[in-house]
């Protein structure tokens, strides 16, 4: 089963992180490196990527002629994806264990960040299932 572990934060949270002392950030990076290595060793690792700063985030809609209409203004409460991990695990419980380890990563002074990690199952191909279900409903 594939799961995505998402680290989300509002803009204010990102600003807080940028203000961490360098020593604390180094410790956090070292933790992330060993976290990633452990996932590779256990064969559960698929991919991980950090995302660019929410300051650069843009929402795009199609204009009347299909041209992009961009908007960079978001409510303060808007959660931005800061980074994600995709893992292939035996059970949801295992995905939660991995997420808990990530949440326990060291923050300022080495104290666990206790950051919330959103865990979602990946179901590429879900569209086909919905169509089958809709067809069933319409036949009734």
């Amino acid at each position: 089963m594939k799961y995505i572990l998402m680290m989300n934060s509002i803009r204010a949270g990102v600003e807080g992180y940028k203000a961490w002392p360098e020593k604390d950030r180094d410790r956090h990076y070292a933790f992330l490196q060993s976290f990633n290595q452990d996932l590779r060793d256990s064969g559960e690792f698929i991919e991980t990527h950090p995302l660019g700063s929410p300051q650069e985030a843009v929402t795009v809609r199609a204009g009347k002629d299909g041209a992009p209409v961009t908007d960079g203004v978001f409510p303060e409460s808007k959660e931005f994806l800061l980074g994600y991990w995709i893992v292939d695990v035996e059970s949801p419980q295992r995905a939660y264990e991995i997420a808990a380890r990530l949440s326990a990563g060291p923050g300022p002074g080495g104290v666990p960040t206790n950051m919330p990690i959103e865990v979602r199952q990946i179901m590429t191909g879900r569209g086909e299932e919905l169509i089958a279900k809709a067809a069933k409903t319409e036949r009734k």
């Binding site: 990527h49 929410p54 843009v58 795009v60 199609a62 409460s77 419980q93 808990a100 949440s103 326990a104």
Partner: protein
């Protein structure tokens, strides 16, 4: 430069999507397949994934002994990721053009293009690329 195009929705958006007619779902799927193929043909495709409905979504935190504490209660306004595409393009303008195309995907009863907002974000290769 790699960009991620994120499609998000609230719980009620997911519920209405689940109730689209078969024809509307099929039209949307046909569009999505053509869209992915266009990205591949243009040599900008990196990956795409669809996520399960948010009714199984969990927030996980570490408990006092590092054990997972899960929570599945979210505010109504919570935006859930429905799916994403990662593309490798020349610059942000190209990413925005591709996002606009995705925003024009057909919805229920031929919804007007542009109804769906697509969030566009840079994808970094690793921690070393994060501004420090």
């Amino acid at each position: 430069m790699k960009y991620m195009l994120l499609m998000t929705g609230t719980n009620s958006d997911f519920q209405s999507y689940a109730n689209w007619s078969k024809e509307d779902l099929q039209a949307n799927m046909t569009f999505m397949r053509a869209f992915s193929k266009e990205l591949k043909d243009a040599g900008v495709y990196v990956s795409t994934e669809g996520l399960a409905f948010p009714d199984q979504a969990k927030i996980v935190r570490a408990g006092p002994h590092g054990e997972p504490i899960t929570d599945g209660v979210f505010p109504e306004s919570k935006e859930f990721l429905a799916g994403f595409w990662v593309i490798d393009v020349e610059g942000p303008e190209q990413a925005y053009k591709i996002a606009a195309r995705l925003s024009g995907a057909p919805g229920p009863g031929g919804r007007a293009p542009g109804a769906m907002p697509i969030e566009v974000r840079r994808v970094l290769n690793g921690a070393e690329e994060i501004a420090r």
